[in-house]
């Protein structure tokens, strides 16, 4: 013990120097926005590259399931195409107008990190600014909602998962259009709460909940889940338990939705 103190005393100059430098750097990174952003970007890149490696292994193990899912999706898409070809009207219109009227653009991305057991869950995607991702884009998987892109670096993006107490999604009951705000319960990864639905709305267990499209992040009609239970709350509103249609435990590939008209809509709304 004594020799330890002697040793510390001998190198006290170096030790103090290192301590003060660490302190200054922590101040630097915490207080200056530019340095903070550069530091966050750097850590995101490093963490992202590690997650990619870990994910490659995980991906290999779930290849069969993934194949099955892709086959099903292919099937569904083929069906849609067939049905469009049957009607001449839609066919022609789609050729004339798709490019001008395109409002949402989809990009596929792969999840390389995911968590479901915290109160504020985040996902990491393997695409970033260079692949066209921007903050505030919606993320869906197989037509059902996953989350919203929060931060992007050159090659990676972080997504606020729907399983995050801070995220509220504007959603509505599909059959009659009553809308409210959906928020995760924080308990298990399968249930969320839809609030602000008035008592006179006619709802039943099993009704479908979809996004309302008011937020300019998600298009209208992205599947959220199904009503599993509801009760009166506070006199004039229902509190509805929603069973989420996305299984966050086995997410792998997702689609990122870019709204091409988002800035236009926000600008218009801010002008009020």
């Amino acid at each position: 013990m004594r020799s330890l103190f002697k040793f510390l005393l001998r190198i006290h100059f170096l030790l103090l120097f290192i301590l003060i430098e660490i302190f200054s750097f922590s101040l630097l990174v915490k207080k200056n926005n530019f340095h903070k952003a550069r530091f966050a970007n750097f850590t995101r890149q490093v963490a992202g590259s590690f997650y990619t490696k870990a994910n490659k292994l995980k991906e290999y193990l779930s290849l069969a399931e993934e194949n099955q899912r892709l086959a099903e999706e292919n099937n569904k898409l083929l069906n849609i195409i067939e049905s469009t070809y049957k009607s001449d009207e839609i066919f022609f219109r789609s050729i004339n107008d798709t490019i001008n009227n395109q409002r949402y653009r989809y990009t596929t991305a792969k999840i390389i990190n995911n968590s479901i057991n915290k109160k504020h869950n985040f996902l990491t995607l393997n695409k970033g600014i260079q692949q066209g991702l921007r903050p505030e884009m919606g993320v869906v998987s197989d037509g059902s909602i996953v989350g919203i892109v929060k931060g992007v670096s050159d090659d990676y993006a972080t997504v606020i998962s729907l399983l995050n107490l801070d995220l509220r999604i504007s959603s509505k009951v599909k059959k009659n259009g009553y809308f409210g705000s959906l928020n995760w319960t924080g308990k298990d990864y399968l249930t969320a709460t839809l609030s602000e639905i008035p008592l006179h709305a006619d709802i039943q267990e099993g009704d479908t909940i979809i996004t309302s499209g008011f937020s300019s992040i998600f298009p209208e009609g992205v599947l959220v889940g199904y009503i599993s239970d509801f009760e009166e709350k506070g006199g004039s509103f229902y509190e509805i338990k929603v069973k989420l249609s996305t299984d966050f435990k086995k997410l792998n590939n997702v689609n990122v939705i870019g709204n091409l008209l988002q800035t236009e809509k926000i600008e218009l709304e801010e002008r009020l």
């Binding site: 006290h12 100059f13 003060i20 430098e21 200054s24 750097f25 922590s26 101040l27 630097l28 200056n32």
Partner: protein, 171 residues
């Protein structure tokens, strides 16, 4: 003793004010920002305990930081420079070592010793500072040009200040 401290305290305040209110507002062509405040670390007596040196350097850097809202930048660079000072003093010491009752100033050890001493420390300080400021190595040569030009200006200012000292003490 009190006179001794008050002299250094006055220099400290004077240098911070000079740096913050005059030199920080001067921009020669975007490449040259002299940082005269490091003169305070250069001018501390030889016998200053090493740990005091670091703490003074941190306080000085932090003062400049608070006024230019770059918390941590100047303080880390100044502490780095203070850390180097004892080693540099050892490396470039004259043959008979440093005499007591003398200060690291031009009039005691001559121009060539003083220029070597201040140039090494100022250059290391500026290198550290400017690289911390841009926080990347990609534009290395542009940053290096800034370091080089600013160092030259700071050294010139520090040399001029030495002649002020001289007049001061003779009075």
């Amino acid at each position: 003793m009190i006179k001794f401290f008050s002299k250094y305290l006055l220099t400290f305040i004077l240098l911070v004010f000079l740096q913050v209110f005059i030199l920080n507002n001067i921009q020669f062509s975007g490449y040259i920002n002299p940082y005269i405040y490091v003169l305070f670390i250069l001018a501390l007596p030889f016998e200053t305990p090493k740990w005091v040196l670091l703490i003074i350097a941190f306080a000085l850097g932090l003062m400049i930081d608070l006024f230019s809202s770059t918390v941590g930048m100047h303080s880390s660079a100044t502490v780095f420079m203070a850390f180097l000072r004892p080693y540099i003093l050892k490396v470039i010491s004259p043959r008979d070592g440093y005499e007591s009752e003398t200060l690291p100033q031009l009039r005691y050890y001559g121009a060539s010793w003083f220029i070597r001493y201040s140039a090494i420390l100022i250059f290391s300080h500026h290198t550290f500072l400017f690289f911390i400021e841009v926080f990347r190595f990609s534009s290395f040569f542009a940053t290096f040009a800034r370091v080089f030009l600013s160092s030259i200006f700071t050294i010139i200012l520090v040399l001029i200040s030495q002649y002020f000292y001289r007049k001061d003490t003779r009075k």
